[in-house]
């Protein structure tokens, strides 16, 4: 591996922070889902880096699972968002507070 492991972890950390920032601050459901995707991918990068660093393929297997989970999550999440948009005509998470 060319890049040192610590750099990989820093990149993954920055990506995770960006994704979390996006998920928490954006007032748009699609952007929240996007932020969560980015956080998942940051975790995936950390797994790949770890797998290379420790010479253990378990990490890469996890990444495949993460991709699969992310794909299903996006499809389900988007479906929910579309349905919510049809019901209320809004993407704003502040409008979905019926349980309050």
């Amino acid at each position: 591996m060319i890049a040192p492991f610590s750099h990989v972890l820093v990149v993954a950390g920055i990506l995770f922070a960006l994704g979390a920032f996006c998920a928490v601050t954006r007032r748009n459901l699609i952007m929240i889902v996007l932020g969560i995707e980015i956080m998942l991918n940051a975790a995936a990068i950390a797994f790949v880096g770890g797998s290379l660093h420790l010479d253990n393929l378990d990490g890469q297997t996890f990444v495949l699972f993460i991709l699969a989970v992310a794909a299903t999550e996006v499809s389900v999440g988007l479906a929910i968002i579309v349905y919510a948009f049809r019901r209320t005509g809004s993407f704003d998470p502040a409008d979905f507070n019926l349980l309050r």
Partner: protein, 636 residues
């Protein structure tokens, strides 16, 4: 012994005598309320059988040597064993005979008195309830059982005083009677519990045997005797709790005759006689009883002097005669007290029933008005009421003379002459107030002497006929009771043998000075004479000597301010003190704490709801923040 046929007969008779009125009470209240004649028939039928059974028992056991007891266990729990059964001795043989006889006569009389009343069936139902309770009370084998029926008797008294419940004063009087007797009963019950804790057995036969209480300390005996006497004070309307009885006259007159003069109020005296050996073990308690009897007797006599209401006069005289009985028993004169109870039941029921005839006819209780309407024209009641009053005053040869004389004999045996003096004063006052009523009734005075009774013009022919047939039902009991009042006194010696044979004959008989036979008679005659001078003779103004002293007459008419005193106590101590405290406690503490809990829940709900904004992103932020903190926590 329970297997022999004679005992089986006794038991059957006792069960029939007590339970049949109860059955008729239930039947009347459940099934025959709409049919007054049937209800009356049922009730009178059952009381007739009771009377027959009582007389049969009395005849069978006229020479009863030892008390017979039938008992079974009502409930047992661990060491606690509550017996239930019948005790039969000379005293309660006599008592059930009196009770059933007076019940029978009064129920027959009520056929006339209550005719046409909308509550006719209910009336007979309650009468049966009373008969059942009173008969069972007299036959109870244990004090606890007696207490049950004691309370049932109180209940039926309450129901019958408030019988005309549309009348506000009647319901008030019923409530007053119930609450005041309850005050005494509470003491009675505490006394029972004390006795039970210390002796472990409440059976009457056990308590009356001297050996049973030999191990108990005298101060404890005095205390429990005084507490039980509290019940007697309440039920027999003695000094501190006496004022319910005059108010109880709001009930129908036959009820006053039966419950509030002849039988129910005598239950207190009966209990005293029942536990006489027990009570006489504490000389302090006996002195207290004697004092209370004396005070009640004198106070009530003075009240009777100024009352214009014929029923109230007899009510006060009931209190005073009960006081006489308590005095006699308290002085150790067992025979005298029981004898006076018996004769009093007869002549007092007679007086009330006669007054009932007048009240029924002229619809007023005021003696002066009755006299002006010409009450003396009704021959049978007038003759009977004169006989009754003479018996009450203790004029020979009527029954009251003999029993009063016996009481004076037992009072004279006391060391302190004060009691005898008080008793003689009572004899004088009794004669004076009873003949005051009689002379006012017999000799109407000027103001509109010839005015007809107000109802006479309005009564239709049919109504008059109904009055006449009712009058016959009312007249017969009067005749029977008058006959009893006249002849009963002559059976004094056989009565003395009968009563004295069973229990320890108290009093120091045989040391009566000779003047003692003359003094009560002379005083009674003096009372009658004074009444004649003031009310009877031609040209008398019909103003009593007490009426000339406004302070005194006001004091007597206000019942020595006892009721006022109770009113003040109730108002200031109970209403403004205890009740107010309780209501404050209820409103501020209990309601307040419940309201506080509710409001606290609602408010904390608001606080929690404020945290929940419904924004998913804030929660995400919170999760991340917590994770970050955990991270810091783990690494540093």
């Amino acid at each position: 012994m329970a297997g022999s046929p004679a005992y089986a007969v006794d038991l059957t008779a006792m069960i029939a005598a007590t339970m049949l009125p109860f059955v008729s009470f239930l039947t009347i209240l459940i099934a025959t309320r709409g049919r007054p004649r049937l209800s009356a028939g049922l009730s009178i039928g059952s009381v007739t059988i009771s009377l027959a059974c009582s007389i049969a028992l009395l005849a069978l056991h006229f020479h009863l040597a030892a008390p017979i007891e039938f008992s079974t266990r009502l409930l047992a729990s661990g060491g606690l064993d509550i017996p239930f059964g019948f005790l039969l001795d000379r005293l309660n043989l006599l008592m059930i005979a009196i009770v059933s006889a007076i019940c029978f006569l009064v129920q027959v009389y009520s056929l006339g008195y209550m005719a046409g009343d909308p509550g006719f069936s209910r009336y007979y139902g309650f009468m049966s309830l009373f008969t059942w309770a009173m008969m069972s009370l007299a036959l109870s084998a244990s004090l606890l059982q007696l207490y049950f029926f004691w309370e049932l008797v109180g209940l039926s008294s309450y129901l019958l005083i408030g019988f005309w419940y549309e009348k506000f004063s009647a319901t008030q009087a019923g409530k007053k009677a119930f609450v005041m007797t309850r005050a005494g009963d509470a003491a009675f019950f505490i006394g029972l519990l004390l006795l039970f804790v210390h002796t472990g057995d409440l059976s009457i036969a056990h308590l009356d045997s001297r050996s049973a209480l030999s191990g108990v300390s005298p101060s404890f005996l005095t205390l429990s005797a005084l507490l039980i006497f509290g019940g007697i004070v309440g039920k027999s309307a003695q000094f501190p709790l006496m004022t319910w009885l005059p108010d109880a006259m709001e009930g129908p007159t036959p009820v006053s005759a039966l419950l509030h003069s002849a039988t129910m109020v005598a239950a207190g005296v009966y209990l005293f006689a029942r536990l006489f050996p027990f009570f006489s073990m504490s000389s302090v308690a006996m002195t207290v009883f004697l004092a209370i009897g004396t005070i009640s007797m004198l106070l009530a006599s003075t009240m009777a002097i100024v009352s214009r209401d014929i029923k109230k006069v007899w009510a006060y005289s009931t209190i005073s005669q009960l006081g006489f009985m308590i005095m006699a028993l308290g002085a150790g004169g067992y025979f005298a007290g029981v004898f006076h109870l018996t004769t009093h039941a007869g002549f007092k029921a007679l007086l009330f029933l006669c007054s009932g005839v007048f009240i029924h006819r002229y619809e007023t209780n005021d003696i002066y008005e009755l006299s002006r309407f010409g009450a003396r024209r009704m021959v049978i009641p007038t003759v009977s009421i004169v006989l009754g009053a003479a018996a009450l005053s203790g004029l020979p040869p009527l029954s009251g003379y003999f029993s009063k004389e016996a009481i004076m004999g037992s009072l004279a045996a006391m060391h302190n002459p004060l009691w005898l003096a008080a008793g003689l004063a009572g004899v004088f006052l009794t004669a004076y107030y009873s003949f005051r009523v009689i002379f006012i009734l017999l000799f109407p005075r000027a103001e509109g002497a010839a005015s007809p009774p107000p109802q006479e013009a309005g009564i239709t022919a049919g109504g008059h006929a109904a009055h006449e047939s009712g009058y016959r039902a009312m007249a017969w009991p009067l005749i029977i009771l008058s006959a009893v009042s006249v002849i009963f006194g002559f059976f004094k010696t056989s009565f003395k043998d009968f009563i004295g044979g069973g229990a320890a004959a108290g009093g120091a008989a045989g040391m009566e000075p000779s003047w003692l036979h003359i003094a009560p008679l002379a005083l009674a005659l003096a009372g009658v004479g004074l009444a004649w001078v003031e009310f009877g003779r031609k040209g008398a103004k019909q103003i009593g000597f007490v009426d000339r002293m406004p302070v005194l007459s006001r004091l007597f008419a206000e019942r020595w301010y006892i009721d006022r005193f109770y009113g003040l106590v109730v108002e200031f101590v109970i209403d403004r003190g205890i009740s107010r405290l309780c209501s404050q406690n209820d409103r501020k503490v209990i309601d307040g704490s419940i309201d506080g809990i509710c409001e606290g829940t609602v408010e904390s709900g608001w606080v929690v709801a404020f945290l929940q904004t419904g924004m998913i992103q804030y929660r995400l932020l919170a999760i991340l923040g917590v994770l970050a903190l955990l991270l810091l926590c783990f690494y540093f």
